[in-house]
């Protein structure tokens, strides 16, 4: 049986443990090289650091996030939507505070897909002084098979 919808809905608004994320110069070089950008290890960070930093600093692994909503990677979760909203460009070498929570839960049923849940979560990256630098909003789709 899939996780009860009421249990899932009870997660909305509860904060993740949170943490910090440092944009390590060597790691930034390797990542930008891996996805075909100009590899750099100083200066302004690639916009994808908002996404990666948010996930890395939220205080849960992706597997733990899946477990929180009653799923595993073996269930075949899929990306739904992603928004990267950058208020101040991130800097290579800088450290950011990361916080966030599950923002929305929606259970649907499709003729072919069966029952599935769409879980949305929002993560913020802040400067050490508290100023908001960037926001990563994401949704995962979790198939719910009996």
């Amino acid at each position: 049986m899939p996780i009860a919808l009421a249990d899932l809905e009870a997660l909305v608004g509860k904060p993740f443990p949170g943490g910090t994320y440092t944009i390590e110069p060597y790691r930034h070089w390797l990542m930008t090289d891996a996805f075909g950008a100009v590899p750099t290890s100083e200066g302004t960070a690639h916009p994808m650091e908002t996404y990666y930093g948010a996930l890395a600093g939220m205080g849960l692994s992706v597997d733990e996030l899946f477990a929180l909503v009653g799923a595993t990677a073996a269930d075949g979760p899929m990306f739904g939507e992603t928004t990267i909203d950058i208020r101040q460009p991130l800097r290579i070498g800088a450290t950011y505070d990361v916080s966030g929570s599950i923002e929305s839960v929606e259970r649907k049923e499709g003729r072919r897909a069966g029952v599935f849940d769409i879980v949305g979560f929002r993560l913020e990256l802040r400067e050490p002084g508290g100023e908001l630098a960037a926001v990563s909003t994401n949704s995962f789709i979790f198939p719910r098979r009996d």
Binding site: M31, F35, G36, A37, A45, Y51, E81, T82, T83, I84
Partner: protein
């Protein structure tokens, strides 16, 4: 930068390489074997090539926008996309965008765009919108 509505940004073409997926998996602690283990992909009935990480596909669109903005990664202010399908190792994909609006906000000029990543003209794997600083 003078920008006309409807202008297409230069295409960003990527030949998706298996080795790069392995680098990303290692850097991101991504334990999903579909990104490097072909046997796992076969067992799931997803074919016989590794599956590219979804965020990589988004990164290609960001790369196209950065190049269009003159190479400044800080020019990309917003990206919102839906993931529509998987990209596999060995495939060629192209990131594209078209300007839908130009405005001033907070003393800077911003361009709004429709963006997407495609295998072919009628085969999009990701689409959405973006906002880029243009002056």
């Amino acid at each position: 930068m003078d920008i006309e509505l409807g202008v297409e940004i230069p295409a960003f073409v990527v030949d998706v390489a298996d080795e790069r997926m392995k680098t990303v998996a290692a850097l991101l602690n991504d334990s999903n074997p579909i990104h490097w283990d072909v046997e796992s992909v076969r067992r799931l009935g997803m074919g016989d090539r590794p599956v590219n990480q979804g965020p990589n596909n988004l990164a290609y669109v960001a790369n196209a926008l950065i190049a269009w903005a003159g190479g400044d990664p800080g020019a990309v202010r917003r990206l919102q996309v839906r993931f529509l399908g998987n990209v596999f190792g060995g495939e060629r994909v192209t990131a594209r965008g078209v300007v839908t609006g130009v405005r001033r906000e907070g003393g800077v000029a911003l361009a709004d765009l429709d963006v997407w990543l495609e295998r072919a003209e009628d085969d999009r794997v990701l689409d959405g919108t973006a906002t880029v600083v243009v002056g």
